[in-house]
């Protein structure tokens, strides 16, 4: 296996939260401001231990809320620090206002979000309602399948964020990944440290009436600039288009960083934006996010033994949404089943489904699409239900009247 080539890696027994904390420890992070919330608490708990034990040269700021956690991280990042924070569910909801401020001021923050159901009723378990709700906030979103990938994504996220000058959310499923102990291959400290390097501050040109001025893009009393001033109908629209275009320009950066990371770790997660499984000759596929897809692949194997031509695709990057890549990838299948671990109240389907269906509308072959909403509040999705979904979509073409949005694993 390729791993032999990277023999200096240490195999540690870490859960997803600890894997993220370990990645933060190695990534020359200057400031972490955080407020604990289940189930991400372990991330910031470990980081605070590293700081307390003097294992890292890092400022840990205890704040009074998630709103402040993100605000403080934003401020630190604007002042030139490499900053990190973590949250989950309602904590992310409380950060709402600042999510947009961070992305709109082009601050390269990294935040781990441990995916968890939103209240009410109170539920601490996994679904994707929290980060799906933040999908329009201008953050790059990487979804991890296990603790190893959470570790790898966190390290890569700093590099992606700082090259794109956009914030990155690294997500991992609550409990399913965050609290599951597994083998995690950890790179040596200096390898990660060299990979991410010191944060470089880009310089920007500012047109003034006295001519163009070049200044570092940060809060620096020597070169005063104002972030987030009043900006009305005369310029706000231009600024938003510029931000959107910056987001749309990130896929090559994301791919490049994965390739570079592959060179030091053997794990490049190619082809990066989505990972297909047994799709070459498949008639139908199921596409989804995160840890659930490991079970879907197991079901694909079982159904293949029965002679059914099924496949799976795990999407890793939800923002920016790789619509063009998905259109190419999915146009070969007769039907695409889309797994959403989230409800978009009042919409025709879940968020992933809506975007995939929209992408496929301009596909020449227009595969049929069926949405399966599953796993809310940590409800498990047993293999037999996934098999049921596969069997349904193998036949959906024949029945145009079939509902296109279904709940998987709910009691009527």
């Amino acid at each position: 296996m390729a791993v032999q080539k990277y023999g200096e890696q240490t195999v540690m027994a870490l859960n997803g939260d600890e894997a993220v904390a370990w990645a933060v420890k190695q990534s020359n992070v200057d400031v972490v401001a955080a407020y604990p919330i289940t189930p991400q608490t372990i991330i910031v708990e470990r980081i605070s231990e590293f700081v307390h034990n003097g294992e890292v040269d890092m400022e840990f700021i205890r704040v009074e809320s998630e709103h402040s956690a993100l605000s403080a991280s934003w401020g630190a990042s604007l002042a030139g620090a490499r900053a990190f924070t973590a949250t989950a569910a309602n904590g992310l909801a409380l950060m709402w206002e600042i999510l947009y401020i961070v992305s709109s001021t082009r601050v390269p923050l990294v935040m781990a979000v441990v995916n968890r159901a939103l209240s009410a009723p109170i539920n601490i378990h996994n679904d994707h309602s929290d980060t799906m709700g933040a999908r329009d906030s201008g953050w790059i979103q990487l979804y991890s399948e296990d603790a190893q990938e959470a570790y790898d994504n966190t390290i890569m996220a700093f590099k992606i964020a700082e090259e794109a000058m956009l914030p990155v959310m690294v997500t991992l499923d609550g409990f399913t990944i965050s609290h599951t102990l597994q083998n995690v291959s950890v790179l040596p400290d200096e390898v990660v440290s060299n990979f991410v390097g010191e944060r470089k501050i880009p310089r920007i040109k500012i047109p003034t009436i006295y001519g163009e001025k070049e200044v570092p893009f940060m809060l620096n009393p020597k070169y005063p600039i104002t972030f987030g001033p009043l900006d009305l109908y005369d310029y706000y629209f231009e600024h938003k288009v510029q931000q959107n275009e910056a987001m749309k320009a990130t896929p090559p950066i994301i791919e490049k960083v994965h390739k570079e990371y592959g060179e030091i770790s053997g794990r490049s997660y190619e082809p990066v934006h989505m990972i297909p499984y047994k799709t070459e000759d498949a008639d139908v596929v199921i596409i989804g996010l995160s840890s659930t897809m490991s079970v879907v692949r197991k079901v694909v194997d079982q159904l293949r033994e029965e002679g059914k031509k099924v496949g799976a695709i795990r999407l890793r990057v939800f923002r920016p949404f790789p619509a063009e890549m998905l259109r190419k990838e999915l146009s070969n299948f007769s039907t695409v089943g889309v797994l959403d671990r989230c409800i978009s109240f009042g919409a025709e389907g879940g968020p992933l489904f809506l975007e995939i269906r929209s992408a496929l509308y301009s596909s020449p072959s227009k595969p049929a699409t069926v949405n399966y909403i599953y796993g809310l509040g940590g409800r498990e999705l047993p293999p037999k239900l996934i098999a049921k979904a596969f069997n349904e979509i193998l036949e959906v073409r024949a029945e145009p009247g079939t509902p296109i949005v279904k709940y998987l694993g709910v009691r009527e």
Binding site: S104, V107, M165, T226, E238, Q242
Partner: protein, 91 residues
């Protein structure tokens, strides 16, 4: 107002401000502006401190000087002046 409007490709990143407030001649909004009677001024600097537009210039020793290019004429300096050395006069 006469500055050409920039397109999204030309604007600096992150919506940072690119025109300083110094470049807006807000003094033309004023109906009244301050006139200082130097004989009454005790050089306490309160006008300089209270001015919400930082329109006063003061070296800490001499009589403060309001920049009439930027003074919008709110009259706070005249109200705060302990010796009533500032009179607001019609522009």
């Amino acid at each position: 107002m006469s500055t050409p409007m920039l397109g999204w490709k030309e604007l600096p990143m992150g919506a940072v401000a690119f025109i300083s407030s110094k470049e807006y001649p807000t003094g033309e909004w004023a109906v009244f502006q301050p006139k200082i009677d130097e004989s009454k001024c005790i050089k306490c600097g309160l006008c300089w401190m209270y001015c919400p537009d930082s329109a006063y210039r003061w070296d800490g020793e001499n009589v403060p000087v309001p920049s009439l290019e930027h003074c919008k004429g709110c009259g706070i300096c005249a109200t705060e002046c302990p010796t009533k050395a500032i009179e607001m006069v019609r522009v």
